[in-house]
Symmetry: C2
Subunit: 346 residues, 2 copies
DNA sequence: TTGTACGCGTTATCAT
DNA sequence: ATGATAACGCGTACAA
């Protein structure tokens, strides 16, 4: 409805329906909610008119009344990333069936942004939070606050160990080990590990797998082979080109996240080195087109859609059934898959 | 606050602050909103306590009262797509500065899903909608309804011409022409055009550019060269492989969307054909790593981030300033960029 | 089976 | 400068 050009919300509401039907608002409300107290004929009349006028309950009135929003916040470190996109697809697939809505936020790997976003969510705006922390997240007061306020929170992939709630990850340690072992089997002697940040869980776990695999082998190892990378792509390309130019360059690289593998491709171009001839690389990645790169990239691919769906299913169970206990403090591990391609040699 | 294990929303609210301060709720409200009617000392007292107790206004009470949600819906056809991810990044960058939140929905290219999503949004849940329509969207009653209800709606990329509102696109016709002309210059004689759907605006516009370029040349042309593709990747690979196997295969391909270019890469593998030797391809695409493919892909790249930011800026202007007129019925064109790479020959 | 009254938390209007 | 009251739209305890 318009009043002097301005949209006003005087839509059909319960009061309006009640008037039209000669009933009281409460009767209409109960009829719409299929209450056992209301006679079938009345229900029919109400539902018919509601449908005819395309009545939609006001979500804010309802949220205010019920103290819940039917909305979930999803917080990710970056949007331009197949893994996170797939996870959100998985979450939406489930939550949508329950009539839940998704507020999606990107921290752009920035803790301050992460804190700001979370501060918006502590007022009941969302019924729960599903998140993967930023690579900068070291201090976790803001996450602790969420938990203390009783807002259900689930972590996935980049989890926060310290918060006693449910976390979904993949077998990162194991795959860090396997990835490294695969390179060793291929004959690599000097294997570097590219790390986004030591702060994040997946970085630490994958690194641990790498370190153990190196230890288990008879290969030499130097701490300087663990390369701490930056946020900016150009910086990383420079960094990686730097050590690829050297005479003592690595002949194997484990990239702990996709963007570092990509930076390595650019660095390889710059230094005119070829995979797998000059060095071999394996990367954690959910790129659909890893197989179309030059050379195609051997990847450890995470079950992203499944992670999203499992997060959401757990949450829906907790939120839609009465008297559910708090989310259990446990880590659920879903297996990743190694897909061999040209970058580690056929 | 917890009551028998259950989280209850009895957070600090205005009433609580008022009690603690020995003031009335209305005074507190006014003080928090920096009303001129309140004395400075009172304001200070109120703000101090509010800060100390970390008071956060209840968004639903406010929305109910103000008849606005400070929330924007973003509806896209698919999430696993760099273009749409970048657009959303752009939207968020602006809206976040104004304290707006983003509900993000994917239609998965399905009109029915699109209709369902929109029906959720007609009850005031969002103050505006920014969307790119699904490739199936032919009848537009649901979009018309949005407009009729007075909910501001902006289209980008895949627009709906018929709705009189502001639309943001790139110069699709021009680039369809240029892309085709580029192939012609490279000596292609038989150029196919891969189309996702004739229903969507970008498909039609890019096709029009292709057709005009073909017409302007002295090349022969057959209608069957415009290939209507499917949703499923495997189906498209089969379809494309099908005509690549033939003796009368094309020597040039214009892919109107990224996913069709990718299907073509797989089809090329299957048929053992090589670009640019056996055929050349150019594609509309925002893939960051188009340059790392084998061969690297010549692309027409859209200013996605900018599109998002411009959509959001227009919207914020309309929503945050009083008495703004309805969104103008006009199309704003931002230029795309052609990036030449190996797939069309150096 | 239906109606009345109230409160969720906020802000605006009207009083004082 | 501050307080009392009403209203946004909904659902429910209580009354009839």
């Amino acid at each position: 409805m318009f009043i002097n050009g301005k949209f006003t919300m005087s839509e059909v509401n319960i009061k309006y329906l009640a008037e039209k039907l000669g009933l009281s608002p409460s009767t209409v409300s109960r009829a719409l909610n299929d209450s056992y107290e209301i006679s079938q004929p009345t229900k029919d009349r109400v539902n018919q008119l509601a449908k005819a006028l395309n009545y939609q309950p006001n979500p804010f009135a309802r949220s205010l009344r019920e103290q819940k929003s039917k909305t979930i916040a999803v917080i990710i470190p970056e949007r331009i990333n197949n893994f996170f996109s797939q996870v959100i697809d998985g979450i939406e697939e489930i939550t949508q069936q329950y009539g839940y809505h998704l507020l999606v936020y990107s921290t752009h790997e920035n803790v301050e942004t992460e804190k700001r976003i979370i501060s918006y969510l502590l007022n009941g705006r969302v019924d729960a939070i599903v998140m993967s922390v930023s690579s900068q997240t070291k201090y976790i007061d803001h996450l602790q606050t969420v938990f203390n306020k009783g807002v259900p929170i689930i972590f996935f992939d980049r989890i926060c160990q310290e918060i006693p709630t449910t976390k979904f990850i993949t077998n990162d340690y194991e795959n860090g080990y396997k990835a490294t072992f695969h390179l060793i089997e291929k004959g690599c002697k000097k294997i570097y590990f590219l790390l986004l940040s030591k702060e994040i869980s997946i970085g630490r776990e994958r690194l641990r797998g790498y370190l153990d695999a190196m230890k288990a082998s008879s290969l030499s190892f130097d701490e300087s082979w663990v390369i701490q990378c930056a946020q900016k792509e150009e910086e990383n390309i420079r960094l990686i080109s730097g050590f690829l130019y050297g005479m003592d360059r690595p002949d194997g690289i484990v990239a702990s996240v996709e963007k570092l593998a990509i930076a390595t491709y650019y660095a390889a171009r710059e230094t005119k080195l070829q995979m797998p001839k000059d060095f071999r690389m394996i990367s954690f990645s959910n790129m659909r087109i890893a197989g179309l790169l030059q050379p195609s990239l051997t990847t450890i691919s995470q079950p992203a859609l499944k992670i999203g769906m499992e997060c959401a299913e757990l949450l829906m169970k907790k939120l839609t059934k009465p008297n559910q206990p708090a989310l259990e403090d446990r880590i659920i591990v879903l297996p990743s898959q190694i897909i061999l391609r040209e970058s580690t040699g056929k």
